[in-house]
Assembly symmetry: C2
Homo-oligomer: 309 residues x 2
Amino acid sequence: MILTVTLNTALDITYRVRALTPHASHRVTEMAERPGGKGLNVARVLAALGHEVTVTGFTGGATGRALREQLAHTPGVVDALVPVGGATRRTIAVVDETTGDTTQLNEPGPTVTPAEWAAFQEAYGELLRSASAVALCGSLPPGVPVGAYAGLVRAARAQAVPVLLDTSGEPLRRGVAARPDIVKPNAEELAELTGSHEPWQATRDARRRGANTVVASLGAEGLLAVNAEGHWRATPPHRVRGNPTGAGDSVVAGLLSGLVDQLPWPRRLARAVALSAATVLSPVAGEFDRRTYEELLDRVAVTGDATAA
Amino acid sequence: MILTVTLNTALDITYRVRALTPHASHRVTEMAERPGGKGLNVARVLAALGHEVTVTGFTGGATGRALREQLAHTPGVVDALVPVGGATRRTIAVVDETTGDTTQLNEPGPTVTPAEWAAFQEAYGELLRSASAVALCGSLPPGVPVGAYAGLVRAARAQAVPVLLDTSGEPLRRGVAARPDIVKPNAEELAELTGSHEPWQATRDARRRGANTVVASLGAEGLLAVNAEGHWRATPPHRVRGNPTGAGDSVVAGLLSGLVDQLPWPRRLARAVALSAATVLSPVAGEFDRRTYEELLDRVAVTGDATAA
């Protein structure tokens, strides 16, 4: 199975209101609620592609129970979340029907105790035994040490499980130094990590910091990838308009799917770009438009060289 | 015991953010979560005054479970809520730390089925047998007939249980016609019911529509009351600044508390005004500042005549 780790899971709530006006009272006209956090989105996309997926991370409180109930109704996703005393955070996206704009309210998440962090690491070590690949996704909840991902990367490498890291800031900086197989920063995370705003330059810089492969996601412009085997650019055939939330998570799902299917890098990148574009067409993170995905798969342009970058 | 009915219970969530900006992403710096809906606020105030209180109404889903868990930790309040298939609504109050303004997002609540409404009416009839008074509070959830409160008023009167109605719009109009012992409209509800913006005039008009006693809550200006025994005005000794949310619910609690304690009307009104002002000083609906309450109790000015109005 593929393992995805979401240390800061969330109950993602979407509200539609006629028009959001500060200081006014609003009647919510439509609402939706879904298990959230990057690793859970990645898992839902992987399961929809037919992979066996197990999710772990932390969950707690009434919001955590609601999340797990909904996860139990997600075919193909096995719940191996670790309980914590605090409550899983909610994220609220308020969609203004008049402007189409979204206003986001994010709870900070529960504070994880040292004992809970130790329990997670033990559970993670066990899960790695049957994992063909692992993705470490998203922000760290309060209480988890900033070097957490570096430790989780090392544990995966010690068991020879390919590991992908998708986070930002200091957790990314420390995690990269532990030599993950793949990191997938977006343009902003890449610039923050390397100080460079030139994408090829920054992608190569990031690789020198320790990652075996760096895949930079550049939104509508597709992906850049650099590793010891070569360097590639993968671009969608046309710009897709829609909701970009979850597009990066679908890139991660595409890369992992291509990895366990042992595809060559150009085909992995094509899968990731097609999935990402098909996710933009879906109103919800963690879901994608299958027809668009299949249609785009052969139309993603991958250019580059299978030589050392 | 005193029975309070909240057909549209809520999980009340308060978020503090640095500044609310539409279309931006916000980190919630502080959050609180409480059982909500007018009747639950009334019940918490009554319990804090030392009364035995039972709450009923509808509850369901993960949010309903969270609400009941929190209710179980509220001393003196007995949970007799009736389960529904849908989920209890959330209300979200977003407090802007920079301006102090509050922006409100209210979910509509679950749709109640005819079978659930029938189950509630049966449970309500049973609960009335041991009730010394009942308060019917707040809006109706989708699916409950607009004449619901009229039926609940009649059922209470048939069992000779004094009944107070606190709602608005068409449910208030129909409920008043069923001759409740007390209605407690605010200025806006009173004007909507009677078409008059002159408070004494409107209070008398409302009484002619069927209520035995009309207590109009006029915010910082206190209360007007009219019944067969007389008419009174009760005003706090000074204006209190704070959070007016829940002030009306504390008026209801004060009136019911005075009723079961068999206080004469002027003292019931003084209790209601003092509780209401002490609630404005508390950051949260359903709670009040006890020292302010006790200090104000003898300082509320009640003027009027114990003769027919």
